[in-house]
């Protein structure tokens, strides 16, 4: 038998597979690709009314950043609820000064923001969210030799078939204190040896395994703090933190795994004690706090599709050692907090310690898809907002969606970077969004790096009662949008043929007047490309400071949004999924149905690729290269890789010129050339790696670690695997 098989070269078979796979419409028959699974309401909230008037659209027309930037004064009303907000006069003046001095400082290191030593001690690797490692042992030339050095299975896994909800695991493996720390969806915290994967200790929070605010059990990992001047012999000079679905924040000694008795109530902080407005659900702490110096910056997650009125988003600054509350920040005014809610931060934040700034990716207010209860301005909602680290006062804010009625939560920490544009060094940040936009602004002032224009947007069809639409929305002129939302996406003829014209009929029954077409009650609703599935998800943008290249993965997904009046909704409601299905928006006059546009077999109605990896030259904002990433997979059948895959999770980039990423439906881990985008290496994981990978050095050897936990937005495949690779030892 082997003699028959061996003459067939593997590469030939692979090629044949790809050609056959794509050429044959059969792929569909075998792989009814409901590309995107189902199951879930999500985190965060929604809208903010905004007048924003601006001339439309010429790429050459510089947008008036100042009119769109919200300096401190403008945000006063929004911060009325802040416990310690005080006056908001930290505004643009001071910040511009800081900007100028930062830009003119001749002593500035040539490549600022590059860590002095390899660091991967937080969700995005570093506080600047660059997801960059200066390690260069693994290079584009030798990455093909990577071998698995250890893997660890937590055992904390559920597929949702029993009493325990399915697990969704997006925890970046954190490397600190010569240890790998991970949190699990069963809310256990585990410390592992970085070289062998051997368990050092574990701690079980005994937290409820009920999906109190999510359709699934979720965990986004842990965070780490250590004292700048540790006291010898004292415990808890190094602390790891993890939150739970039921709003408890645990602080453990990083060396022993014992609770830190000096933190809050014997090592546990009840965050829900501050849940005092519309407390229809607990403030789930799924994302670990962002550690900035001796402060823990804490946001929370909830259900913003379920209710018109919900807990309003609050950021808590806590003392890292004691858990004592230092200040709070609210994105909504007192008035709006009564009528609405959320506008929370459910993902990680980034910070520029040198300039004392914390950057919040703020989500939309509740409910997600109707804004009649919140027609006034809410300039801090769906925004990137910069706060003073010490006081929580707003320094500047940029709203990326006015009066958000699309659930366009800002879902990833902005990536901080120093870039050189037209010969001028700019302290910048890039904010990726679900829409596939990359907004690039000066991180000290919030002003445009490349013009961001206010353009007129569709004003609805009059079918939605009480709604007041924003007349314009901000559009970046550079970098170009990661996907072309300017016109209705083309129908994929293959899916249309298989569906007997179903896609064409659907397209004809969908309202689309361009980007930001509002939800409607008519027909099959409005088309959104994309909506809540993104675009870019919480993995965010990676950045190589040497070549000033930004790397980002994006999904291309068409969704439909249909509003139902209350009576019709009760009849139509057939359940909810993860970024799909019905959501009641209780209290509002409308419920919403969100669907992915697929034919009866589950094939996407729009043309591939369904996901891409993109590299951008941040000197110019131009695309260096872009390529489909991964393969879509259903029932085990892989689609051709040139069709790409929707992605969740993000990349890591190294000084060795390698981009590491999982993120795709096919549950593969991949390495790409930073320079060319060529795929250099891949391996199979247990489930889609929807967490960012981490890169670390231990005892002189460079490792890359992935958590493969899956996410039901991609498909119903779960995992409990931590897997680590390195080059063979010589």
């Amino acid at each position: 038998m082997p003699t028959f098989l061996s003459p067939l070269p593997l590469s030939t078979l692979k090629l044949t597979a790809q050609r056959l796979g794509s050429a044959t419409a059969l792929a569909l028959l075998l792989a009814p690709v409901p590309l995107f699974a189902q199951d879930q309401p999500t985190e965060s909230g929604q809208t903010s009314a905004q007048s924003a008037s601006q001339p439309s659209s010429d790429a050459a027309t510089p947008s008036t950043a100042s009119s769109d930037t919200t300096p401190a004064d403008d945000t006063d009303p929004q911060n009325a609820g802040s416990q310690d907000a005080g006056s908001q006069d930290a505004g643009s003046q001071d910040v511009s000064t800081a900007d100028a001095s930062a830009q003119q400082n001749p002593n500035r290191p040539p490549i600022p923001l590059v860590p002095e030593k390899p660091t991967w001690d937080s969700f995005h690797g570093q506080l600047n969210a660059q997801k960059y490692s200066p390690l260069d042992q693994i290079t584009a030339d030798n990455v093909g030799d990577l071998e698995k050095v250890w893997e660890f299975h937590t055992g904390d896994i559920a597929d949702g078939s029993g009493d325990t909800p399915a697990t969704v695991w997006s925890a970046t493996p954190v490397f600190a204190n010569d240890t790998i720390y991970i949190g699990t969806p069963f809310y256990r915290l585990i410390a592992l040896d970085p070289g062998t994967g051997e368990e050092k200790w574990s701690f079980d929070t005994q937290s409820s395994r009920k999906a109190l605010t999510q359709p699934v059990l979720k965990n986004r990992g842990v965070s780490y703090w250590e004292a700048e001047n540790p006291v010898a012999g004292e415990p808890c000079q190094k602390i790891v933190y993890m939150g739970t679905m039921d709003a408890q924040l645990f602080a453990l000694d990083a060396d022993t795994g014992k609770l830190c008795k000096g933190f809050a109530d014997n090592g546990v902080l009840n965050v829900n004690q501050w849940n005092d407005t519309h407390s229809v659900w607990p403030l789930s702490v799924l994302q670990p706090p962002t550690v900035v110096g001796n402060h823990l910056m804490l946001g929370w997650a909830g259900m913003d599709w379920a209710y018109e009125q919900a807990p309003p988003g609050t950021i808590f600054s806590l003392n890292a050692q004691t858990g004592e509350l230092e200040w709070t920040f609210q994105a909504l005014s007192d008035e709006m907090r009564e009528k609405s809610g959320t506008a929370n931060v459910w993902t990680h934040m980034s910070a520029d310690r040198e300039n004392g700034l914390l950057y919040l990716p703020v989500s939309s207010p509740s409910p997600n898809y109707w804004g009649g209860n919140r027609t006034e301005k809410a300039p801090l909602a769906t925004s990137t907002t910069a706060l003073d680290i010490e006081t929580g006062k707003v320094v500047w804010s940029r709203q990326w969606v006015h009066h958000d009625i699309w659930d366009y939560d800002i879902n990833s920490a902005p990536t901080l970077m120093d870039i050189t544009v037209d010969g001028k060094q700019i302290p910048a940040l890039v904010q990726a969004t679900k829409q596939g936009f990359l907004f690039v602004v000066n991180r000290l002032t919030g002003e445009d790096v490349w013009p961001i224009e206010e353009r007129p947007v569709p004003q609805g069809d009059g079918s939605v009662e009480g709604e007041v639409y924003a007349p314009t929305q901000p559009f970046p002129t550079k970098p170009a949008p990661l996907l072309d939302q300017s016109e209705k996406p083309k129908i994929w003829s293959l899916a249309d043929a298989v569906g007997g014209g179903q896609c064409s009929r659907l397209w004809n029954d969908l309202t689309y007047e361009g980007m930001y077409t509002p939800p409607t009650t008519k027909g099959e609703g409005a088309l959104a490309y994309p909506d809540s599935s993104g675009g870019v998800q919480w993995g965010g943008v990676a950045f190589d400071p040497e070549s000033q290249t930004a790397i980002v993965n994006t999904s291309h997904i068409v969704q439909t949004m249909k509003l139902y009046n209350r009576e019709d909704y009760e009849e139509a409601d057939s359940g909810s999924g993860n970024e799909s299905g019905f959501a009641p928006q209780k209290g509002a006059p409308y419920g919403i149905r969100l669907k992915v546009a697929v034919n009866w077999l589950g094939m996407p109605c729009w043309e591939p690729p369904f996901g891409e990896l993109v590299a951008l030259d941040m000197h110019t904002g131009d695309v260096k290269w872009r390529r489909p990433i991964g393969a879509s997979q259903q029932y085990g059948f892989f689609m051709p890789e040139r069709w790409g895959s929707p992605t969740i999770g993000g990349p890591a980039v190294t000084a060795g010129g390698v981009v590491f990423i999982g993120a795709s439906m096919d549950a593969k881990l991949r390495a790409f050339s930073l320079k060319t985008g060529e795929e250099l290496w891949e391996d199979q994981a247990q489930a889609p790696a929807v967490a960012n990978p981490s890169v670390y050095e231990y005892k002189g050897r460079e490792y890359v670690a992935f958590v493969a936990g899956g996410n039901t937005i991609l498909k119903d495949q779960v995992g409990d695997q931590v897997v680590v690779y390195a080059l063979p030892e010589k």
């Binding site: 067939l8 078979l13 796979g21 044959t24 792989a31 029932y635 085990g636 059948f637 199979q684 994981a685």
Partner: protein, 121 residues
């Protein structure tokens, strides 16, 4: 004698390829990190390769001409379908096994003895 040997070798190749396909399908379904472990697709090819084995065993002694023709058509469909499924499952060796099975089937069909001589004659 040579015709009979040719006939038998076709059936034997087909049977071995089907058994190999079954083994590969079982491996793909039950072994972690094959990329398709526990999936419906891998289960389908387990069933299709079992069907291939059974059909081959039935084909071997079958003397009825119309029955042989019908069975060969079914086997051909199963080989092509399973081979294609192997491609989409990224189980390249499964596809290779089906190609070998196809060669076996062609050998069997090409043999004049196969259509005129009972296998056990």
């Amino acid at each position: 004698m040579s015709q009979s040997r040719s006939f038998r070798s076709g059936i034997i190749v087909l049977l071995l390829a089907s058994l190999a396909g079954l083994a590969l399908s079982l491996y793909a379904y039950f072994t972690p990190l094959t990329g398709v472990d526990g999936t419906l697709g891998a289960l389908v090819v387990i069933l299709s390769t079992i069907a291939l084995v059974v059909m081959t065993l039935v084909l071997a002694p079958l003397s009825c001409r119309s029955g042989r023709v019908a069975l060969r058509v079914l086997i051909l469909l199963a080989l092509v379908g399973t081979g294609f499924a192997g491609l989409l499952l990224h189980q390249w060796w499964l596809t290779a096994a089906m190609v070998v099975g196809l060669i076996g089937l062609l050998l069997d069909m090409a043999s004049p003895a196969a259509s005129t001589t009972p296998a056990h004659s």
